[in-house]
């Protein structure tokens, strides 16, 4: 059974490229460029993993992550945070993120990270 992945990123290019690569790899993908849509999307789509950008337009991905981890219904969903700052790796742990990808990452690394949580 294919796994569902929700991507939350404000950059359309990233959303498109990530969807393409993940769909190629056999995942079902749903995207949103607005952080406040995250919970709505989760209810509908029931993702097995969430790819969440740290720096969203006007919002902080880390707070969304914290909210996800505080909510009983979403707590169990693995969250992989994406950031251009390698140093964000340490700070996101405090917000409960399960893993981290530093931009720019390769397809190989992306799939390896996702498979850790979905297989």
């Amino acid at each position: 059974m294919s796994k569902n992945i929700l991507i939350v990123d404000d950059d359309e290019g990233i959303l498109d490229a990530l969807s393409m690569v993940l769909e190629d790899a056999g995942f079902m993908v749903e995207t949103t460029s607005k952080g406040n849509q995250t919970f709505k999307k989760i209810n509908k789509f029931k993702p097995n993993l969430i790819l969440l950008d740290v720096l969203l337009s006007g919002e902080d991905g880390r707070f969304i992550c914290k909210m996800l981890k505080q909510d009983n219904e979403t707590r169990e969903i693995p969250v992989v945070m994406i950031s251009a700052h390698p140093s964000a790796k340490t700070s996101i742990k405090e917000y409960g993120a399960d893993s981290f990808l530093a931009k720019p990452f390769s397809t190989e690394v992306l799939l390896k990270t996702i498979n850790e949580f979905t297989s």
Partner: protein
């Protein structure tokens, strides 16, 4: 010796002004001899006293009236001679009183000389003190007040003895003379909970430790109750015996500079995000495309795709290097240390680089089982930089040899190539920021001169060392060490 003589001889100390004493005295003596020569005794004790009192008075008046001692002395002498002629013409006295008169003249002359010399010397000293020191003080104060930095001078107890206008401009209040640093906390408390003066005064520290305190930053409530960042340096002033007698502190306003630095940091952050995001998309698109086309397209199209992939990687490396340089500059290069196998890390790096290197062979033979506690990603970055350089500057079909050696508390890693080699004069410079080997005549190689600079910073921050052994035309051997 000369100094002692000068000190003993009051006339010498008077300089030009000695003439004002010498001339009247000599004319007085000459006058007495003249009287004797003529055989007319015109002086006797009481009148001689009177005459000398007048001469003394006149000499003094003339002496103090003229800044130029020579002119004063001449005028005093002319007056004295004129007075003698007056006496010679108007008086004629008994011969028996001549001897005692001459003795009186000599005695009074000596008294006159002594008084005039002492008074003259004192006056000159006073003049020098008043004029010279006042000038010096005025000049010093002008300098202090016009300094482009804030200044506080305290005595060895930390009490303020001097401040300048610029300090008032920076901190927003006048620090009163006598304000005791470290004891009086009225300025430290401030009005709105924010200090107008740093709580821990570098001045007090420099006095108590006897050492300079360099560039300490403090946040204070500055002029118009605005948050102000000041940088304070303080240094003790010592006497010849090494005892602290005062302390000087320099205060600069860094608010604007820090604001600019913050803007630059923000720019780097934004740039890093903005540059890396499209790069990530590009990489993913390329991966996706090559995956889709791998069994379908002709070799030329595949070569094009590989080219795009390679160039994207290069662009990614350049962006990363630029950001690293920027991080080093702003002190934001952070490390995450972990224990890892050096062999394994080197093998992984070699494997990855060898995949895209056709010409040169990278050999890692001398293996040791060494575990280091360092930032694996960053050390592997150093390894990659050294190997990439070796590949870049080596002819094809040559070997690049890596070796590791444990020695005492350090592990040494070396990368040896058979490439161009580096002239001894450039061995240090190549680790400087944006420095590149090669001149106008020589063939230039691509790159921005960031790799070795970044590597040096990474190794330095790991308390290791990095250097090169090389000669022009004889290949290079790069070394780095890491503490175990």
């Amino acid at each position: 010796m000369e100094r002692i003589l000068r000190y003993l001889n009051p006339l010498a100390r008077l300089g030009n002004r000695k003439y004002s004493i010498v001339f009247p005295l000599f004319t007085t003596l000459a006058g007495c001899l003249l009287l004797e020569f003529w055989g007319n005794v015109i002086l006797h004790n009481p009148s001689a006293t009177g005459i000398f009192a007048i001469i003394l008075l006149l000499g003094m008046i003339v002496y103090f009236s003229f800044r130029d001692g020579m002119r004063g002395g001449l005028i005093a002498s002319v007056i004295t001679i004129a007075y003698y002629f007056y006496i010679i013409i108007t008086r004629n006295q008994g011969e028996d009183q001549l001897r005692s008169s001459i003795q009186t003249v000599l005695l009074l002359g000596l008294v006159y000389l002594f008084v005039a010399a002492t008074v003259g010397g004192l006056k000159q000293k006073l003049d020098r003190m008043i004029e010279g020191e006042a000038d010096e003080k005025r000049r010093l104060q002008a300098i202090i007040h016009q300094l482009p930095v804030g200044l506080v001078i305290t005595n060895n107890k930390g009490a303020v003895v001097e401040t300048n206008k610029q300090l008032e401009n920076i901190v927003g209040v006048k620090i009163p003379i006598g304000y005791e640093m470290g004891k009086d906390d009225s300025l430290v408390k401030g009005e709105h909970g924010m200090p107008t003066w740093p709580r821990i005064s570098p001045l007090v520290q420099s006095i108590s430790t006897g050492r300079a305190v360099v560039r300490k930053d403090f946040v204070i409530m500055g002029p118009n109750n605005k948050k102000t960042i000041i940088q304070v340096s303080a240094t003790p002033v010592k006497n010849k015996q090494g005892k602290v007698i005062a302390a000087v502190s320099i205060i600069t306003d860094l608010t604007q500079q820090r604001e600019m630095e913050k803007r630059k940091d923000d720019f780097v952050n934004i740039a890093s995000h903005e540059l890396k995001t499209p790069l990530t998309s590009m990489k993913l698109y390329i991966d996706s495309l090559s995956n889709r086309l791998k069994d379908q397209v002709d070799s030329k199209s595949m070569r094009t795709l590989k080219g795009i992939q390679y160039q994207t990687e290069r662009l990614q490396d350049l962006v990363s290097d630029l950001l690293d340089v920027s991080r080093i500059q702003t002190g934001k290069l952070h490390f995450e240390k972990e224990k890892f196998s050096l062999d394994k890390m080197i093998n992984e790096t070699v494997e990855e680089l060898q995949r895209s290197t056709k010409g040169q062979k990278i050999i890692y033979s001398k293996k040791t089982s060494i575990t280091v506690n360092a930032d694996k990603f960053r050390i592997s970055q150093v390894m990659t930089n050294l190997l990439t350089n070796a590949i870049k500057y080596s002819p094809p079909d040559t070997n690049i040899v890596i070796s590791t050696k444990k020695n005492g508390k350090y592990v040494f890693v070396s990368v040896q190539d058979q490439g161009l080699g580096i002239d001894k004069s450039e061995h240090k410079k190549i680790f400087e920021r944006l420095y590149q080997v090669g001149d106008a005549k020589e063939k230039t190689y691509p790159g921005l001169g960031m790799g070795l600079y970044i590597s040096k910073e990474i190794i330095k921050r790991h308390r290791g060392n990095i250097w090169v052994e090389s000669e022009k035309g004889k290949g290079s051997k790069f070394f780095f060490s890491l503490p175990l």
